[in-house]
Symmetry: C2
Subunit: 301 residues, 2 copies
């Protein structure tokens, strides 16, 4: 029903988690893997992230029926070109990147004769590298497939079944729409978090030591997000530039309105917004996309 | 060494936690409490948040040597005036509010003959009300005292000892400096979180259901903060208006610079900022102000 030989290019948090999840949930499927960094390959072999860690990408993909690129989105085109000659004609090509229109184009250009079905499992942590992955990363998380128009239906079904086997729920949408949705649910939150952490660390009248000491007032939640992989996030903003700028414009408008409400001491406007935002939190918890424990359960220590 | 009869006015998350923490850590100290809401008083009595839940504020403070106001900062002046005639002359007056210059002024005006030492335990969760409190809320958290110039040193020492007994670490600073520090470590993060959650729920081209489904990409962390008590936060922004607007100005400048970097595809500027922000996260974890488990430990479910 699904694939039999999966090649994973890039063995960091996402690639490693895919490998471990396959081993746990699809024990009949063989996995090969490659990473451009020799130290990562060594660590991947020690942890058993994939069945065989190969010394070249070409070797890893040579016998695959599914190739998943798990490298930063800005590097996907080059990674695909590097192994293009070695990929079997019938292999399905996918990825795990956070922006999809640019990735779809890069993969289709690099591998014009393969079926390309970009994918984005909406899951991750602030850790990166070959030690960061774990097999349950995709449990109860959504994986969004963005098959191009006219994509092979059987390949889409097989890739859906693959992600469902790893514990994910699968949704299909247009790449452009994906990029808009993720701009607001992921990219802008990361951009804002990086910004405020940067602002706080550059202040003259408040020391960095004070920022750290009193971070439990809310700031520390932003630092978690702002600890995410810099290369990955640089590439997300560069490859999803238009949707990010569009959503950033709307956020800035709303922030300006709130700034005006504070300046004018319009308590009612503040109260109304602060009440409205609670409902979204409740829905996220009801739909199993977050933990209901207050303060993320941190309060018990 | 510390106080013997503590009156708590306001029995929500903070007031309830103070009461429970006293019962656990200072069993010799008696507590009385009052809340303007009859349903909260009833629930407080059921949970035993304080030794005696009184029917009036005057009754609660009548015999106290420490009175702690745990109501939204905008309501502190009125709450203090309401019990002013009943407060013993020697009682020390304090609070737990998130802005300090305005609170200090309101308490000093309402209770001119008492020693007033404002305090802010930098701790909390997104829950509110009489069911939200728990005795370990202040463990390993900082409590900032902002005694006015010439404040009674013995009273400051007793209040420090009180908070240390509840598990907190105590720091003393000027009220104006407190308000600036907390603007960046707490108030602006809340303002930004409220804004992005509001922006996301008002979009036309991305549905609310999509925002909820794909919130695991970062957005959900912001919704936790944006679920905090609306009345409390309205009052924080109104009473710490100048520091909040000052810090918001700096944040907006930095966000504009990042927006320009994205527009100009300046990957190096993005990468440099995203690398720099990781260091702050490490320090926060090293200093015990957050949990090192990736993704707040959510990954295991």
């Amino acid at each position: 029903m699904t694939f039999e030989r999966v090649a994973i290019i890039g063995l960091g948090l996402l690639g490693g988690s895919v490998g471990l999840a396959v081993r746990e949930h699809l024990p009949g499927v063989t996995t090969t893997g490659y990473d451009a960094d020799p130290a990562t390959r060594e660590r991947a072999a020690e942890r058993g992230l994939v069945g065989t860690v190969c010394e070249t990408g070409a070797e890893a993909v040579a016998d695959a029926d599914l190739v998943i690129f798990c490298v930063p989105v800005g590097a996907i085109g080059a990674a695909a070109r590097e192994v293009a000659d070695a990929i079997p004609a019938g292999a399905v090509i996918s990825d795990v990147g956070s922006s999809k229109a640019a990735v779809s184009q890069a993969l289709s250009e690099a591998l014009p004769s393969n079926v390309v079905i970009p994918a984005h499992p909406v899951a991750g942590t602030e850790r990166s590298g070959p030690d960061a992955g774990f097999s349950s990363l995709f449990h109860h998380r959504w994986c969004i497939l963005t098959p191009p128009d006219g994509a092979d239906a059987e390949a889409v079904a097989k890739l859906s079944a693959f992600w469902e086997a790893l514990g994910a729920k699968v949704e299909t949408m247009d790449a452009a729409h994906h990029d808009l949705v993720l701009a607001v649910t992921s990219h802008i939150p990361h951009l804002i978090a990086y910004t405020i952490v940067g602002t706080a660390s550059d202040l003259e009248d408040v020391t960095r030591s004070e920022v750290i000491k009193y971070s439990a007032g809310g700031f520390r939640d932003f630092t978690r997000i702002a600890a995410s992989d810099p290369t990955m996030w640089r590439d997300v903003f560069l490859t999803n530039r238009e949707a990010v700028l569009e959503m950033l414009g709307r956020f800035t408008e709303d922030l300006t309105a709130l700034q005006r409400a504070i300046r004018r001491e319009d308590g009612q406007a503040l109260f109304d917004l602060f009440t409205r935002t609670r409902a979204i939190r409740r829905s996220i918890i009801e739909q199993g996309q977050d933990d209901a424990r207050p303060d993320f359960g941190r309060s018990d220590h």
